[in-house]
Symmetry: C2
Subunit: 352 residues, 2 copies
C-alpha cells in the first residue's frame, strides 16, 4: 500500500505540474562546440503503390493509387567521419524516431551524439508510425460500415501511470521510488512523445525488415540499433539478408530471443551482436505477462548460443558493470552519453 | 479526351516505374559547403493531460492519463545567425513536416536552406499528425461499439491521380501536361510523403494556433510560414496573440482570406504579411468546389485591405514576376531556392 501511495503521490505531482506544460526553448541545452555536418535531411525507403476505393480513402476522391508501407528516415552525416559505418536507430512501441532526438530534459539525443563521434546516423519511424504514415483503409471501411468495428486493427496507447512502472522510472518492487537515471523532472515532456501505436495497420509482418534491409544494402555499412518492441527487428533483418549489416545492437529488446532455431543462429553468428540492459529489471511492469527479467534471460540465451558458435556476441548488463539506476529509456537517461560511449567502444573493438 | 489520355499515360508511366521504388542514398545531393550548426534537435510545444478509459486506450491498460494536443517541433540553429528571427514552417493537408526537409529528388529542403542563410528554422507536425500523434479515443470507442462507426472523425487520403492535378504537377486546363517546375521524375517519392489526414481527431479547433503562439512567444521573433490547408494558421495565431510574431508568409494558402472582419484586419495591419502563389492557378483541381484561383483572389483581397490601412502586405504572384511553371509545392520545385531568396529579401526589407 505504501508503495502504491508513493507512486500515486508522484503521479499526482506530475499531473499537477501539467498546468505549466510547455517546454521552454531555454530548456534546450546547446553544446559548446558547433556541429559540423556534411549533410542533413530525410527520405523514404520502400513503399508500395496500392489501389484504393473511394470509401477506403475517406469518401472524397474516386478510386485511385496511394503509397503504403513506406518508412521515413531522417539522417545526419558529420563532416568528419571516423569510418563508413552508419548507425540506424529504430524506436519502440507507442513512440517514434523522436526517441533518439533531443532528450525530454533538453540534452543532445543519440542521433547527434553519434554524429559528433564521427558516424552518420539514420533515425526511422517504423512503418505505420509518425511520418511514415499508416494505411487508414480499414478505419474508413468501418466508418462506411463495410466491415465490423471489431475487425479494426488495434491502435493502443500506454497510460502515463503504466509507463512509470514499465519503463522503470518508478518501481514498486523495491518498495520505494527508484533513484532512476531517467530525468524525472521532464516526465511530462516524455509523455508527449507517446502516440497511438498504429503498427497493427501494417498487414505484412516483414515490411519493416524489408525496408531496413533496403536501407542497409544502400548504405553498405550499418549498425542496426533497436529498442524495446523493435528489439528483434535487426535480427529479423539480418536473417532476411545480412548484406550491408556490420553489427546489431539491441537496447532493452522486448519479446524473447529464446526461440531462434539452430539454423538461424548459424546464419547470425558472423555478425557482431550487442545486448544492453539497464537496472531494476526484476521490477513489476504492470503489464500482464510481461517481465523485463524474462526478456533479458531470453535474449541473453541467444547471445550465449552465438558465443558458443564463435560469434562476437556480448551482453552489457549495466548494473553488473557497476552502472546503476538506468531505466528502460537508456538513450534518454542522464548518463546516455556514457552508454553511447560503451556501444561505440564495443563496435570499434568487435567490428569485422 | 486527349487531355485525359495524356494524364492517364503519365499516371501509367509513374505506376509502372514503382517496381524500382526505393530512393537511393546516392540520389541525395550534398552541398559543397559543410553545414555549421549551433544546435539541432526537437521538442514538443503545448499538450494537455487527458484521463482515458481502458476502452479508449485500446482495451489493455486500466484507465489512466495520456497527453493529447501536443505539437512536434524539429529545429536547426546555424552557428552564424544574421538576426534573432526564427522561421517556423507549417505543412499542409495529408502531409507532415517532411514537406520542408529534403525534396523528393534529393535536394536541400527549406529547413536547411534558411539555416544556411543565417536563420534558425523550426518545422512542426500539425497537432494530430505525424510525430505529434493523434487522439485515437474515438477509434477505440468505435472498435468497442461504444459509438457508431459513422461518428468517427474523417481520416482522408488524396490519391496520386488527384495530386497530379490539384498540386498542378500536370494540368488539364492547358490541354497538355504543364512544363512544371515540380521534379516530376521524383513523383513516386512525393507520394510517399502523403499520410492520412488525422487532424479531424483534434477536437479543439484552435489548438494549433495556441501551440504556435506558445512557440512564437517563447522564441520571441518568428516568421510563421504556412502552406495550403494550413494557410490561415499564421493569421489565426496572430489574431490570438501577436506576441513574438515578426511576419506571416502564406505559401499557396487554401480556403479564403476574404472573410476577415474589419476589426481583424485592423489587428493584423502592424504585422508584415507576404502571400506567394505559383503558376497555372486557373487549372482544374479535380476537387469539387475547390479552385486555386478563388483561393488566390480571396487571400489577395486580404492583402489589399491590409495595404489600404498602411500595412506592409504584399502578394508575389510568381508568373506576373516572370517566374513561370511553379507548382503548388513551391518548397520542392526545382527553383525552390529562388523562391526562398525572394521571401528572405522581402523579409529583410519589410521587417519592423
Amino acid at each position: 500500500m505504501a508503495v502504491m501511495q508513493k507512486i500515486s503521490l508522484l503521479i499526482s505531482f506530475i499531473f499537477i505540474c501539467t498546468f505549466s506544460f510547455a517546454q521552454k526553448w531555454s530548456d534546450i541545452k546547446t553544446d559548446a562546440e558547433p556541429l559540423v555536418l556534411k549533410s542533413v535531411g530525410s527520405f523514404y525507403v520502400g513503399g508500395e503503390t496500392e489501389l484504393q476505393t473511394r470509401s477506403e480513402m475517406g469518401n472524397f476522391f474516386p478510386e485511385g493509387h496511394i503509397t503504403v508501407n513506406q518508412m521515413y528516415v531522417n539522417f545526419m552525416v558529420p563532416q568528419k567521419q571516423v569510418d563508413s559505418t552508419s548507425f540506424v536507430f529504430i524506436h519502440g512501441i507507442t513512440l517514434s524516431g523522436k526517441t533518439y532526438e533531443t532528450t525530454p530534459d533538453g540534452r543532445m539525443g543519440w542521433n547527434e551524439y553519434f554524429a559528433r563521434k564521427g558516424h552518420a546516423t539514420f533515425v526511422v519511424d517504423q512503418v505505420g508510425i509518425g511520418r511514415s504514415g499508416f494505411n487508414a483503409k480499414a478505419y474508413n471501411r468501418a466508418r462506411n460500415k463495410e466491415i465490423e468495428p471489431s475487425e479494426l486493427p488495434l491502435l493502443f496507447r500506454i497510460s502515463d501511470e503504466n509507463t512509470l512502472l514499465n519503463f522503470r522510472f518508478a518501481d514498486s518492487l523495491k518498495k520505494a521510488l527508484v533513484a532512476s537515471k531517467f530525468p524525472a523532472e521532464a516526465y511530462t515532456e516524455f509523455s508527449k512523445q507517446s502516440i497511438p501505436f498504429t503498427a497493427a495497420t501494417v498487414t505484412s509482418p516483414d515490411v519493416n525488415f524489408r525496408n531496413l534491409s533496403l536501407l542497409a544494402k544502400d548504405l553498405k555499412h550499418t549498425v542496426l540499433v533497436s529498442h524495446s518492441q523493435s528489439g528483434a527487428f535487426p535480427v529479423q533483418t539480418a536473417l532476411l539478408n545480412p548484406e550491408g549489416i556490420d553489427a546489431l545492437v539491441l537496447i532493452e529488446p522486448g519479446g524473447t530471443g529464446a526461440n531462434y532455431t539452430d539454423a538461424q543462429v548459424a546464419k547470425l553468428k558472423n555478425i557482431p551482436v550487442l545486448l544492453v540492459f539497464g537496472d531494476n529489471i526484476e521490477a513489476e511492469t504492470g503489464v500482464p505477462g510481461h517481465s523485463w527479467k524474462e526478456a533479458y534471460d531470453g535474449w541473453n540465451s541467444l547471445i550465449e548460443r552465438l558465443k558458443k558458435r564463435g560469434g562476437k556476441a556480448e551482453t552489457f548488463f549495466l548494473p553488473q558493470m557497476g552502472i546503476k539506476g538506468n531505466s528502460h529509456m537508456l538513450m534518454m537517461d542522464t548518463n546516455n552519453q556514457q552508454i553511447a560511449d560503451l556501444i561505440l567502444a564495443w563496435f570499434a573493438t568487435n567490428k569485422n
